[in-house]
Symmetry: C2
Subunit: 541 residues, 2 copies
């Protein structure tokens, strides 16, 4: 058993919305007060996370300080005073920066402990991650001190996220020597496919005779989905409480602790839904629009949009060209019927013909033209009616640049940009498997992928089989594999070299890509930073 | 006087092109050998800088090591053996990471000293910048040791870039105590308007009785332009040698040291030319295309393109709509004549009419439609004929989102994206002032700015005067000014609040923006990292 009763408050903060975030925090405290001993929030739950370069703004820091003061006062109210509160917020750094730190940071990433109208103490994050999407060393000044305090006779300490992802055991030994019985860890830990397993591993590796309460944020923030899943480990490392993925207060022991799932399609689906749902909610958008090609990518994206926004808020547009197959429009209409969404048909040939009289077109230009006419049409509807345009490219095609700039890549959000094509198929089959009848038309799943920009075109004309392509892409992008390493694994060198060049040469396209939910360790978002201009070919001698 | 004769080799490396970079390095050594005592290159001159996340790739690191070995061997050749060489390169980190460093870094940012076929020693950068465009703390493991060695009786040490931008004097005192007479500093320092002055200040602040040789890279790399300008300070801080902006070997004392210029239009112009020139050169592109509206932005961009690529490689397209004024096309043709570039006219009304029959359009949608038809037309020509499409938006309009997504914002490079509108005018007048007759039509400079997407539209319908707008934008973006701070400076609060909201609400547009040359301290590129989703209004109470 753990020493005291811990409640996890998984709020879904909006960056900078101190008023709204504070209101959510207040509600959670009111629910936990008098029942739990302590309620633990996620990292920067008051300010929002990640703040990015807003962390440099004195008005953001000052407003956070005022909101924290307000929160401290609130907890003096009878209905909020019956529980210890541990909440994350940004705070102004007082001392000099770390001597190794050449950054513009002026604030700490902090957590305060509050009870009954009193601020007991404030802790500052010590290990500041600086990899993938994390810019904490850029944005924050590291802390140096422990905050050790008692809750109803139990000695507690605080850590924030990366603090516990370390091979250095000196801190956990010191905490143990200081008699700490429970470590409260505030996290802003975004979903990736295997993260839930890794979090438990990191927490257990850091434990040293003390219990550990791992509290995570929930909800989507730009490209990240914080997938909640807070958990409580007793001093032996046994998991005794596990929270769900969604925002909420979790504090009673769950009835049943199922094994933590990795690479789970149901979880991935829910993450994609949350990513789109919260991007819309936090930017004040309620309706989405997308082109329906009859293909699998737009079908899956439409299904995600329906779950995120409601089927009445999703509009599909079929935009057949002279090269569209009959089944394309049929499949689009079948999908719309299954999802019960509005669908309209806007054939693009009139604009196609107009452009043909305006400019002379090469074969490539003529193909791209169709995708761009579709984008112009969709953006015109979006501008007129106020929908968010979704772009439906998957990770495999984005990786190799198999898309038209300002054509099918146009849109304000890309729901499946970090889902490989093989996973798109798997997700589509999974969606159908959990519904009584097929949601995504079987022919959309089973037909050979095609951009349909010229007669009888197939993706396989220019790309390898997606199963093979995805294996190679995972090695090149997530593992930074070298060509000899892929060769040692049995891949054909010439094919890997060709794909590596496609990835490199489409860097400029991705630099203009729409934001979309991160699901893998290396997504094409702010976490991958490579030059557009490079001649390194992975094959240097 | 400085103790020994220093040559600065300002090479223009391509990231990852070890073969090409090594060849440039060899040429510089051959020129300096036998005459100068030491030839100093820029930061990572062998590997290219910034490498970004390529620094995680073992093949990049290994290839750099092989290239360095090759270079060491080369310097054993008689024609290369007569000079000490100090060259920057990436190298594999051997020891553990810094305990504060939570990054994926596996390499150092290094500099090696080489002479006559022997590697004398390797230094690793100690202070790793993590602000603006710099991700060194993310990408590299910091070094801890000095490299002190003698060149013809003079005691020398090595530093790299950020190492000398510090208020901590302990290192410079230690170097002085060790008897160092000359510090060789390798830099990858990109241009911003006032940087030349700041570099000298930093160098003099770091000096402690030793001379200092500040060597910079030259040329454009993605959004950055390394503007050379290497300089040599004697032990008293007096500048005794100053290099030019362009690639080359600089080692004789210049005839005359003019004051270092800040905010100089001639320098800004040259930086914009280099940025576009090298982006094209390094991505293998030779021809540029742009829409000519008759306005000042496209006119200045065309002039830059001519200087960067040659007038025979620049094509302008006039794309009049039903709302274009007569003078628009006239001014476009006048510009083309002045620049002696090819111009074509493609009226867009046929496509405009076609789309009008396809979709119902709101006023806003109808305006944006025209900009998008132009983009489709330009991209069709680009795809057919192989030009790089330039997008010609300036910083002021990009800041407030005064552009059409997938319309005028479409393009592979944005030459003036980091130039405020008031500076666009100043540059245009400057260009005309240095030519015998006007290059940019005077009417393009003097007419009131208009997007011409509806009858009698003017920018001033929705934006304040550009002089005022630019002042407010500089405060909000470069100074992170709060609303009360702008009010204290005499600005109208309601106007600042309105502009701040426009900046915040167009973050998503900028996230899909084309790359372009950085010229200011805070440009809309990789150096500015703010959430798309935030509700902080700069006015929280």
């Amino acid at each position: 058993m753990t020493p005291i009763k811990v409640a996890f408050a998984q709020t879904n903060p909006v960056v900078g919305d101190l008023r709204g975030n504070l209101s959510d925090i207040r509600s959670a405290i009111a629910s936990a007060s008098g029942d739990a001993d302590v309620v633990v929030f996620g990292e920067l739950a008051l300010s929002g996370y990640p703040l990015g370069d807003l962390s440099y703004r004195s008005d953001v820091i000052d407003a956070s300080a005022r909101a924290l003061n307000e929160l401290v006062l609130m907890t003096g109210e009878p209905e909020l005073s019956g529980v210890y509160v541990v909440v994350g917020h940004v705070s102004k750094a007082q001392g000099p920066k770390h001597p190794m730190q050449a950054s513009a940071a002026i604030a700490h990433n902090s957590a305060s402990v509050i009870k009954g109208g009193k601020l007991i103490g404030t802790y500052h994050k010590q290990i500041l991650p600086n990899f993938d999407v994390f810019d904490d060393w850029r944005n924050f000044v590291p802390g140096e001190s422990e905050l050790i305090f008692e809750i109803n006779g139990t000695k507690c300490a605080v850590a924030i996220c990366q603090d516990i992802w370390t091979e250095d055991s000196s801190r956990s030994v010191a905490l143990s020597n200081d008699g700490v019985e429970l470590l409260l860890v505030l996290n802003g830990s975004p979903y990736t496919r295997n993260k839930a397993v890794e979090r438990r591993q990191a927490a257990r590796d850091f434990q040293n005779g003390f219990a550990l309460a791992y509290s995570n944020l929930a909800g989507g923030q730009d490209e990240l989905v914080f997938d909640g899943g807070s958990f409580l480990l007793d001093a032996s490392g046994t998991e005794v409480l596990r929270a769900g993925m969604e925002p909420g207060l979790y504090w009673e022991q769950n009835e049943k602790l199922e094994p933590v799932k990795s690479n789970d399609l149901a979880t991935l689906w829910q993450v994609l839904v949350i990513g789109l749902r919260d991007y819309c909610a936090k930017t004040g958008q309620t309706k989405a629009l997308l082109g329906l090609s009859g293909g699998i990518d737009s079908a899956l994206s439409a299904a995600i949009a329906c779950e995120a926004l409601g089927n009445k808020n999703v509009v599909g547009i079929a935009l057949p060209s002279r090269y569209s197959s009959e089944h394309s429009v049929e499949d689009a209409y079948a999908l719309a019927k299954n999802l019960d969404i509005e669908i309209r048909q806007v054939p693009i040939d009139r604009a196609h013909q107009a452009f043909e009289t305006m400019v002379e077109l090469s074969q490539l230009a003529s193909e791209n033209l169709q995708a761009r006419i579709r984008a112009v049409t969709l953006m015109a509807i979006s501008n007129s009616e106020g929908h968010l345009l979704l772009t439906t490219g998957n990770k495999s095609e984005i990786a190799v640049g198999y898309s038209t700039m300002y054509g099918d890549s146009a849109g304000g959000f890309a729901p499946i940009k970090d889902v490989f094509k093989t996973d798109v198929w798997a997700l589509a089959r999974w969606v159908n498997s959990v519904h009584e009848s097929a949601v995504i038309p079987v022919s959309s799943i089973e037909k050979p992928p095609s951009a349909e920009l010229r007669p009888d075109q197939l993706d396989s004309d220019s790309l390898p089989d997606y199963q093979l392509l995805d294996e190679i892409l995972k090695l090149l992008i997530e593992k930074s594999a070298t060509i000899p390493e892929t060769e040692a694994l049995g891949f054909d060198v010439s094919e890997v070299v060709r794909i590596e060049a496609m990835v490199r040469n489409s860097e400029w396209k991705r630099s203009q890509g729409a934001i979309g939910t991160k699901t893998t360790e290396v997504s094409f978002g702010t976490g991958r930073r490579v030059p557009l201009t490079t001649r390194f070919t992975n094959y240097e001698d």
